[in-house]
Subunit: 250 residues, 2 copies
Amino acid sequence: MMEIVLFPLPTPIVKIGDDVSEILISSAEKNVGGFKEGDVLVVTSKIVSTAGGRVIDLTKVSPSEFACSIAKLIDKPPSHVEVILREARSIIRMRQKMIITETKHGFICANSGVDQSNVEGEKCAVTLPKDPDKNARDIRKAIKKRCDVDVAVIISDTFGRPFRQGVLNVAVGCSGLIPVIDLRGEEDLFGYKLQSTEIAVADELAATAGLLMGQTDARIPAVIIRGYRYKKGEIPARKIIREPETDIFR
Amino acid sequence: MMEIVLFPLPTPIVKIGDDVSEILISSAEKNVGGFKEGDVLVVTSKIVSTAGGRVIDLTKVSPSEFACSIAKLIDKPPSHVEVILREARSIIRMRQKMIITETKHGFICANSGVDQSNVEGEKCAVTLPKDPDKNARDIRKAIKKRCDVDVAVIISDTFGRPFRQGVLNVAVGCSGLIPVIDLRGEEDLFGYKLQSTEIAVADELAATAGLLMGQTDARIPAVIIRGYRYKKGEIPARKIIREPETDIFR
């Protein structure tokens, strides 16, 4: 029976313009002797966004009138709200000092995923990467090219959720694995055909990495999950999002 | 830098009346040399329910008139729907052949967590344990008594969620650890005070165990997570549920 091992990948503080793939490869080489075939690498969106320049100086943002009125409602600086609105495709809920939006990628989360924590300078905000699936593909390709091993890559972010307290790490980008496994039609232990079980594998892996990433210590921005047998394939994390028509909670 | 290791705990098929703690202790001894201080043990609710006799023979259930009319809507046998309704405190959504209920514990999930898969005999259904927090405490106590080690125990079940496809393992019972960690007021890497970050630690651990539990192979009904430093304490998993007043998605 195979066990699964989780390795933290510490890195120096990632700055705008840094090469995230190179940083992760050198951390993997230094800390765990490099990547192995079949590893899953989970990377927090925060360093991908930062390296990609998705850091916004809030002192240079001029908030719209709408942003200013929302800012009062949700008790945030107007410039921060302006960035949240620019990242949003639609507003899903606005209540109790919270704003839940649908991001331009289609993710439903608080504040369009715009974050003020772990950013150099209090006046900055970091947005989600523009195309986290592409970031995952790029990191995967770089590892293949430099180390000649095939890994799966997940870009993760912490999202809150309805009904239950606390945030959980979820996959906002992925490459090299099928993010949701459909077991419908397979038989269980007693030969009973499963009717409706789809497993959110990419989110399971992201949540797992969350155990080592923590929140206050951004120096563990990536985790290797070794020994998990995933199903290879190329389906973007965007596809994890429920179609609005079948989502009974929008 | 510490790594985390996940060990699968295979067991024989669990039957009504079995002593789950004994089964898990003997599997741990056989497969990983026993429990260690600080382990997290995640156990699927399925075996706890089965051992506890929460298996219902559907041929002996007489469905109410309401159950019969719902049965047509959601395309399930009336006796199955009857059990779902008996386990429910309220109905949250009923649409698109789905019924999302609030269970008597307060969990919000599809079909009140009543499951037809992995049950001996197609005509049976398994409900969630009556008091999964108590089950977690009992297993923890048994391990303390028999092995003299302090572990944290989580009882898990797979729940779907709004906005995203696929089910994820979550904590429905726990003992020995604080299930949601509040980081508000702590400082991040740049000295910025976190405003609102609560981490759903118990759900992270449950999702992690999901990597080894799978769905079609119920012979891995438990997983040991070793090396994760959790915060000790005794708060029931019931407390993870958002208060209805602050839940903007009910």
